[in-house]
Amino acid sequence: MGCQSAYAYQAMAQEVQYEPVAQIGGGAYGTVYKARDRESGQFVALKSVRVQTDQDGLPLSTVREVALLKRLEQFDHPNIVKLMDVCASPRTDQETKVTLVFEHVDQDLKTYLEKAPAPGLPAHTIRDLMKQLVNGLEFLHSHRVVHRDLKPENILVTSRGQVKLADFGLARMYSCHMALTPVVVTLWYRSPEVLLQSTYATPVDIWSTGCIFAEMFRRKPLFCGESEADQLGKIFEVIGLPSEEDWPADVTLKRHNFSPQKPLPFPDHVPEICSKGEDLLKKMLSFDPLRRISALNALHHDYMKEED
């Protein structure tokens, strides 16, 4: 009970300290605001989730998830957004609002790519962004955190060119609410196993990273599907239709629903990519999640070692 009132006090203090200035995300599960920290004058991102409570207080899953985020924060990783504050404020007997205060970076990779003058980003810039991105991902994966929704909008880039991953670790807290809400989510960075609703783990993030790697060269997304099946069709146009033995068992979409395709050489889709880059990209865009390269191995791939 003491804990509950301490949280309530914090909640009040928090409402004084952080002043929202605009809504930057949200749905039925909660809202994300850009806010100003009155103490430092800096912008922060306030993410709140409404969770159901009972006589024992917050659900254990929420407590665990917040504890994990706090544990990650202690590493002060350069490629992960900072978690600055966490706060729970009871709304009713059955509902509590959990607010997480994150560092706000005023540029994402989508904007960064949009701003890149023709003919696109220099090779050394792409390599530097990739090193940082994979470094952040390797950190998350080594702590058994799967991002699950990696896309240019949640890869942040500071004015000094420092990459920071955002919006990780909340997936589970959100997912139970999201299932009830018709939120439009992009399919473009989804791995085949997610699209097929098969098993999924850390390799899903490597798939997304591969799509983003290609996008850094192309300055437009690699696979722009409009439905799950359409997204898979677009993927197979590039990587070829997987063999029957690679197709996961027990999934609704069957291999025979797709037309046979031979893999195309990557440079057709990704101009200017060097041979080592192409090798890494191929290993990231492997249909079979078990054969896909890990973040740790990607970090030590020859592409990352090349000098410009």
């Binding site: 850009k34 904007t111 701003k115 000094r160």
Partner: protein, 124 residues
């Protein structure tokens, strides 16, 4: 959602296409959202394309935050996005404006170690 609300949110998320569409369909570039902030005050500071669209549609750069006295130029300078700083100045943002802590944009750039921004602001 009110159109002003939509425009500020689109600006804050750096959604250039959406900002363009809303401005072209006549949404007021100086309208405030529920938090009494204009799109330029809350925009993604690194998004020069969004800043340009807003300014070209008549968004007023010299607007102070109602609680901190900060102008968009203060925020662009503090976060170090030089292109946005240049653009705001080009559209007559006041480089000598002071916030409630009596800081000018150049002071915030200095404090945060954005030397290129400092050099630019001192050169004008």
């Amino acid at each position: 959602m009110r159109p002003e609300e939509e425009l500020t949110s689109a600006a804050a998320t750096g959604n250039t296409e959406r900002v363009k569409h809303l401005l072209q369909s006549g949404v007021n570039g100086n309208g405030v959202n529920g938090f009494q902030r204009t799109p330029l005050q809350v925009m993604m500071m690194g998004s020069t394309p969004v800043a340009r669209l807003l300014l070209e549609h008549g968004a007023v750069p010299n607007v102070r935050d109602c609680s901190t006295g900060t102008t968009p130029l203060h925020d662009a300078a503090r976060t170090g996005y030089l292109e946005t700083v240049r653009l705001l100045v080009e559209f007559h943002a006041d480089s000598q404006a002071t916030d409630n802590n009596n800081c000018r944009p150049v002071d915030l750039a200095q404090l945060n170690g954005h030397q290129e921004v400092v050099d630019f602001l001192l050169s004008i």
